[in-house]
């Protein structure tokens, strides 16, 4: 919202409050000022000049040599405009002036004739949006100025444009309907600065503009009816003697500063009153409306052509102004084309109403039509302003329509304006403010300055809120605390520690600790880089990864069509990351910790929320041989699971058969204790990576945080007393079928166990290597393993070792393995 400094100054004296201070006061005490800037500063160098004489240029048919006076000096200026006439006044850019666009006026010679300055057109001065000299053709060439403009005077001042524009963040005044007009801001500043108001447009009434009920009869005043409580108040009056003309320069300048374009006196006054009082209004041409105005909700498929000539098929249930049956305006948003004020308008039916803000919001969201008026109505309005602004409208229009008459002002209302009454305690206010010097006297003084009446009785205080702050604004004691705090200045509040009981956090977030630990491992120990990916999939991501039985959740309004679905697989995000980088960097290791969203069913909104599962996934591309990478990845995953809490031998490893994975190079790791899969890993199927335009093997793993959290072991450290006796190890090489899984060997050897008694046990079994070469028969491979045995109470005897070895060999033999 743009606010004009000069406009504020119309209601409160700002002579000792420069723009910067004004902006700071508003920012610190009321709302966020996004910035301020001088309005049309380029006009500062432009003055009024009189063309005293015009002579033809000796060397050019289209140029003229003018003698121009600024009241003090006379200049020779060469000019090419067709409409330059001796005896008329025009804007002059003197030597040194800068025009919009950056052109600096210098001494010049035009076709051999000296020229000291430039006569300007309205386009050159960016003044096309103002009517400066009525009756003059604005497109004729030079901007002709009114004869009564004083010579040599600065045009910016004469046009009332020597102003500052203050930009206020709309969001910061969402809860302050009263601040949506210049007067409201002036009233606020009066309280903050402890200054009187110079003028109050809301004092407009019968006294300031008398009614003439005779015109109601003559023009047949339409009757008004509010149906189904579709408005809070509807005030209206007829105005006769309207003549359409341009507005005064001052009014035009005010509207422009506030960001609206002047049109004609009636439209301008209508906008001016809204920008002044925050109360929107609408002027209908009396000639085009029938004798009965009705406010009511729309039925299905009614139609209305708006002021901007757009025909709208109206959604059901929005508030309309009807002329009899026919819709003529979207209540509180925009008028219809058919009934609008035009060049010939003589009599106006003026509406000034208050609607329910929920209705206006519904209109905005159902029609997507937004206007300055709707922006104010959706915040809520002071219903008392409806009547007042009709008198104000008449006062202002009278300035350009001397014959203006106002009929009787009528009001139909469905509820009376309210004033909130709040009961609280001084001690409560002081407690919530904290360490600040606030006594009863100070508190009541501030509340009074804001238009509130206070009654105190010892610690009790009863506050009556003015109507203009009673709607959607001040309703609770907490709202008053804000008022007192901000007016006193939050900078006067001293910090004070909150006194709390000495206790550790009530709830421990083990998942979060796990996630951070995983990051330390992934980045610190395994040298992966963490990436963040969006929570979304494209259609092709969804089509590709078919591992999930349920369909990904679709968005109603995705930001763009590549982000149409909620993520249901951890895989595509990392593949996009690899695709983006692998050509430049052939060795990549990325991981991600985030969530996927699995659709859920349920009758209640809350139950039907998707199941959000946190995962950790990683992807690798490498310049190494695939099997080398597979081995490293396998080791890394085993190590990671050990560090999380699942020992080496509590992990069991199986083949994986999923479409997205390479059928030869993929596996899963199970938690042996529970039997569930906790990790899927391997190379991604080349057909799949190809769809992401990756022409290199990509290795991948994924785990769900909940599974990892389950294996977390924070209580049992696993410590066993250090053994003094040596272990005995034994290496052997088994000849097996080329494609026979290692797991078959593990099925024969018993699992490593630890025993504290006088019992010999197998402490570990390790895979050493695989050999397929010349000395190995076709279709076979030689796999070497190492086993260690130990007894915690003694050194193993030679015979005992031999027996152990023999028994192992014999069980391998009987399982069909040959030893080498």
């Amino acid at each position: 919202m743009n606010i004009s400094y000069n406009w504020i100054n119309d209601y409160i004296d700002l002579t000792d409050i420069p723009i910067k201070e004004l902006s700071d006061i508003l920012t610190m005490k009321t709302c966020e000022v996004e910035g301020y800037e001088p309005f049309r500063p380029h006009l500062e160098n432009i003055v009024v000049g009189l063309v005293e004489d015009v002579q033809p240029h000796p060397d050019a048919d289209k140029l003229k040599v003018c003698k121009v006076s600024d009241g003090k000096n006379s200049y020779q200026i060469v000019c090419g405009a067709p409409n330059v006439i001796a005896g008329k006044k025009y804007p002059v850019a003197k030597i040194g002036a800068t025009l919009p666009g950056g052109m600096v006026i210098k001494e010049a010679k035009l076709r051999g004739v000296d020229s000291s300055g430039m006569l300007c057109s309205s386009t050159e001065l960016l003044l096309n949006d103002m009517v400066i000299a009525p009756g003059e053709d604005p497109d004729a060439g030079l901007l002709t100025l009114p004869d009564d403009f004083p010579l040599g005077k600065n045009l910016r001042q004469l046009l009332h444009l020597d102003d500052y524009i203050i930009e206020i963040d709309n969001k910061s005044v969402t809860h302050r309907p009263d601040l949506w007009g210049h007067f409201g801001i002036a009233r606020e500043l009066a309280a903050l600065l402890d200054k009187p108001l110079k003028a109050n447009p809301l004092k407009a009434s019968k006294e300031t503009f008398p009614e003439d009920p005779s015109i109601d009869k003559a023009l047949k005043k339409p009757s008004v009816e509010i149906k189904d409580n579709s408005a809070i108040a509807y005030s209206s009056a007829l105005l006769s003697g309207v003549c359409i003309a341009p507005s005064s320069l001052k009014m035009q300048a005010r509207l422009l500063a506030a960001g609206m374009r002047p049109i004609n006196n009636v439209v301008d006054v209508s906008n001016f009153v809204m920008l002044e009082t925050a109360q929107p209004n609408h002027a209908f041409d009396r000639e085009f409306i029938q004798d009965h105005i009705e406010v009511s909700y729309s039925k299905a498929s009614e139609k209305l052509t708006l002021l901007d000539s757009k025909e709208l098929i109206l959604p059901e249930g929005i508030v309309l102004i009807r002329d009899g049956e026919k819709p003529v305006a979207l209540a509180g948003v925009m008028g219809g084309e058919h009934t609008e004020v035009n060049e010939k308008t003589k009599n106006v039916f003026l509406e000034s109403a208050t609607f329910h803000r929920s209705d206006i919001r519904a209109t905005i969201s159902k029609t997507s039509v937004r206007t300055e008026a709707s922006q104010r109505f959706e915040k809520g309005q002071d219903p008392e302003n409806a009547v007042k602004s009709i008198y104000r409208f008449a006062e202002l229009l009278k300035e350009t329509c001397p014959d203006l008459k106002l009929g009787s002002v009528d009001l139909v209302e469905t509820e009376k304006p309210k004033q909130n009454v709040i009961e609280t305690k001084i001690s409560y206010i002081r407690e919530r403010l904290g360490d600040i010097d606030a006594n009863t006297e100070k508190i009541t003084k501030i509340l009074n300055s804001l238009g509130m009446q206070c009654k105190t009785d010892k610690d009790d205080i009863t506050i009556t809120v003015p109507v203009y702050r009673s709607y959607f604004d001040i309703t609770l004691a907490e709202d008053l605390i804000e008022e007192i705090g901000r007016v006193m200045g939050y900078r006067n509040v001293n910090p004070q520690p909150i006194y709390v009981s000495c206790e550790v956090p009530k709830s421990k977030n083990l998942v979060r600790t796990l996630e951070h630990d995983l990051r330390e491992l992934m980045s610190g120990a395994y040298h992966f880089t963490e990436v963040y990916n969006y929570a979304f999939h494209s259609q092709s991501d969804v089509d590709l990864d078919k591992r999930y039985a349920k369909k990904a959740i679709r968005l109603q309004n995705s930001v763009n069509k590549d982000l149409e679905y909620m993520r249901i697989s951890p895989m595509p995000g990392l593949l996009h990351n690899i695709a983006q980088n692998y050509k430049e960097r052939p060795d990549l290791r990325f991981y991600e910790i985030e969530r996927i969203f699995i659709p859920n069913e349920g009758s209640k909104e809350e139950e039907a929320l998707p199941n959000e599962r946190s995962f950790i996934s990683g992807a690798i591309t490498s310049t190494e041989e695939p099997n080398v990478v597979m081995t490293s990845l396998s080791s890394m995953l085993a190590d990671l699971l050990v560090k999380v809490g699942l020992t080496y031998y509590e992990q069991s490893r199986e083949k994986l058969s999923e479409d997205s994975f390479h059928p030869g190079r993929s596996g899963q790791i199970l938690n042996k204790n529970k039997g569930n899969t906790i990790c899927k890993w391997g190379q991604i199927h080349p057909a799949y990576t190809k769809k992401y335009s990756i022409e290199k093997p990509v290795f991948y793993f994924e785990m769900f945080i909940e599974d990892l959290n389950e294996i977390r072991n924070t209580t049992d450290s696993g410590y066993k007393p250090v053994v003094k006796y040596p272990h005995s190890d034994f290496e052997l090489t088994v000849l097996m079928d080329k494609r026979q899984p290692f797991a078959d060997i593990l099925a024969v050897t018993s699992e490593p166990v630890i025993s504290n008694d006088d019992k010999t046990y197998m402490e570990s079994i390790d895979y050493l290597n695989t050999y397929e070469g010349d000395s190995i028969p076709d279709g076979k491979k030689a796999v070497s393993i190492r086993m260690t045995w130990r007894n915690r109470t003694r050194t193993l005897e030679h015979d005992e070792i031999k027996t152990l070895q023999e028994s192992l060999i014999s069980s391998l033999n009987s399982a069909g393995f040959t030893l080498r």
């Binding site: 919530r432 550790v504 709830s507 996009h576 983006q580 083949k655 059928p663 596996g667």
Partner: protein, 359 residues
Amino acid sequence: MSAADAIIKELTELDELLVARLNEAKAQKDLEDARIEFSGKKGKLTQILKQLGKVSNTERAEIGKHANELKTKFENYFTEHTERLEQEYYKSLEEEEWFDTTSLPPRFPNGFFPGNPGDQRGYIHPISSMQKRLEGIFTSMGFSIIDGPQVETDYNNFVALNFTEDHPAREMQDTIYTEQDHLLRTHTSTVQIRGMAKLSPPMRIIVPGRVFRYEELDASHEHTFYQMEGMVIDKTVSISNLLHLMNTLLEEIFERKVEVRLRPGYFPFVEPAFELDMKCLICSGKGCPVCKNSGWSEVLPCGLVHPNVLKFGGLDPEKWQGAAFGLGLNRLVMMHHGIEDIRLFQGAFPAFLSQFKKY
């Protein structure tokens, strides 16, 4: 046999020859070789067509048409066979590219992954690091870390936070909706309600997490970003208390004395509501381009918990009071490192990510 007939015969033979050749192709390379030999620039087809000079114009047109058809036919052969080889390759994967994933893996050497030397280190995302640091600061002050869902109900995101159905502030936060009419949470404040339901007062919680807004991407706007909500509920909580908490927090984050100021803000779930500014760390308040010459930078919104929100959380506003604040993690990380573009946080940009070691 006329010259034209001879050419046609040669073309037919060429077709048969190619079919036979392609049927024998075992690898992509074989297809490439055949393509060069048969339909390459100096290939057999071109050689045959060189004889066109010998035939009449009408015949030439006819043979030309035939040759063009043949070219298309050849192209189709190549595509078909590429496809065939690909399918054969996929079928062979299980046998030819077998790796025993059931094998016990060798112990991880605690070194580096095999591959190119060069930058072999790994990095933690800067937002994760900042989050961890903040969690540490808050945990040291007795705060619990609570998580909530990213897909939420209108109730938790709006209604229970005092955004009524007709509240104009709903417009402030452009929301993304799922087809099930759930929404992607627009702030981590949703967990105020969940937190109050989970823990009993007095309580102190923080909620780090991802949030979403319907927003076009540019250097300073993201539709996906990270926040950390904080909430304190106790017997009495004043503006002074909030100010002290924020001061402590910022001094811990930036590891130096900071100066803060509160000014009025508006958020329906707190009353009074504030914007908290911190004296610009770059110019110490003198005014510089970073703080837009104001001497202050906007850091976080905060306020005292609105009584309606306490009620929605099942607490009696007569008995309990609260303060709440929302930290923007992206913004904080950007301020901390002087990062210029918010889009670098999402997706993989190694040149960006590898600049963050650890705090």
